[in-house]
Amino acid sequence: MSKDKTLGETLQERGVSRRSFLKFCATTASMMALPPAMIPVIAATLEKLRRPSVIWLSFQECTGCTESLTRSHSATIEDLIFDTISLDYHHTLQAASGSAAEHAREEAMQENYGNYILVVDGSIPGENNGYSTIAGISNKAMLLEVAAGAAAIVAVGSCAAFGGIPKADPNPTGAVSVSDLIKDKPIVNIPGCPPIPAVITGVLVQFLTFGLPELDQLGRPAAFYGNSIHDRCYRRPFYDKGLFADSFDDEGAKKGWCLFKLGCKGPTTYNACATTKWNDGTSFPIEAGHPCLGCSEPDFWDAGSFYKALSTPTEDIGKTAVYAGAAGLIAGAALGASLRARKQSAVKNHERVTIDDLDQES
């Protein structure tokens, strides 16, 4: 497949019908939560698109993000996606290894300097090279080198976007996110542990079609992260009615009531799970009866127990109150004693008041 041909030409060569392409555009628009009216625009843009080079770097990660993407069953769509880009380096996926792989990366960088897209999954450890190196190059050095020539960076997964689990307290490796290190390139964060595969591909398509998507405060594309799980949750009516499951096997749980009490982080988690769902739209955690962990939010790992309700304090307040009460008793008793002493001295200073003491003139 040549990089010089437009997507339209490539598809035509491969005998993909116009109807197939329209179907692809329609489902992509749906996935990206774009209004159906945008379908013709997507079609027109994609058609003229030339395949950009993509370099995918994996640092402190668990390969869950790549798994999420490649194990996704909607193979056709992802195939089409990869037809639209040229994935020149992805060390988990590529056949070449060792210096050959690194050579491929260097070549891609040279050929497309300033134009390629950098995808990163995993967080970047601190100064100690022992934490993670690839081909003898520290993660940080590699990121800085590749990022320098990138047109834009896509940080896939909560680790790349926010530091994720490696950054969880006490953050032994000194892990940081991509945006902690790179300040001079557009960065799109696609958090999630892992992110929804359709969202990864959707963002790539959106990126290729319309350029840098509209991002929120945390660098996430608003199209997928614009609503909280809670806002789009089918169990929301139960929240409003005050009907909650108290445990995983009570009547409420069986009736599908809201999981807020069981620690659901839906209200503060911005992601598309409730609408896009997982496994080709089959279900998502809440539908399976489990509270949202908030995995696509920063520091989700440190937000107290997954099963502790969002409104509750993360530390032991009961104990604090007891300690405070004890401290208050001691301080209060001391203060009270001094007040009593003050009053006693006033009683001691009392001079008997007689009728002669009443007139100020006297």
């Binding site: 035509q12 179907k23 489902t27 009216a37 193979a75 056709t76």
Partner: protein, 142 residues
């Protein structure tokens, strides 16, 4: 019974099991408005069912209420797609599947014929080329 042979109370009574989001009736109204607009102004309308939060069972209930009408077409385009005209003419249900027959998109379109059902100019052109090739090949052979 209504003219459609459907009890008037069906919409209300067959309301979804599990937690209703309450989105079903508004959706049916959106369809009604779209039909009116088509009749008055010829304006087409598309609803992406993925973009609307629906409780489990609610989508089935919606499809049940829309029913099936006179047209039922299956396209083979990188995985099948079903184009069904519902009980209400000009209300089309379009379901896209991937090659594993999993649903990857579902739309309701209000129009005379969904665009994707029509033959596409590019495909017609390619088809014409193929036909011409075929004919010239036949002539050569002949």
């Amino acid at each position: 019974m209504t003219a459609n042979g459907m009890p008037a109370s069906t919409i209300a009574s067959s309301a979804p099991c599990a937690p209703p989001t309450g989105n079903l009736v508004p959706l049916l109204h959106e369809i009604r408005h779209a039909l009116t607009r088509w009749l008055e102004q010829g304006e087409e309308h598309v609803i992406d069912l993925r973009s609307i939060p629906l409780a489990p069972g609610e989508e089935d209930s919606l499809l049940e209420q829309l029913g099936e009408g006179e047209v039922n077409a299956r396209l083979s385009i990188t995985g099948p797609s079903d184009i069904i005209e519902t009980r209400y003419p000009a209300v089309w249900l379009i379901t896209h599947y991937n090659e594993n027959e999993s649903i990857i998109g579902r739309f309701i379109e209000i129009c005379e014929v969904p665009g994707i059902l029509k033959s596409q100019a590019d495909d017609i052109r390619a088809g014409l080329e193929r036909l011409e090739d075929q004919l010239s090949n036949a002539e050569t052979r002949a």
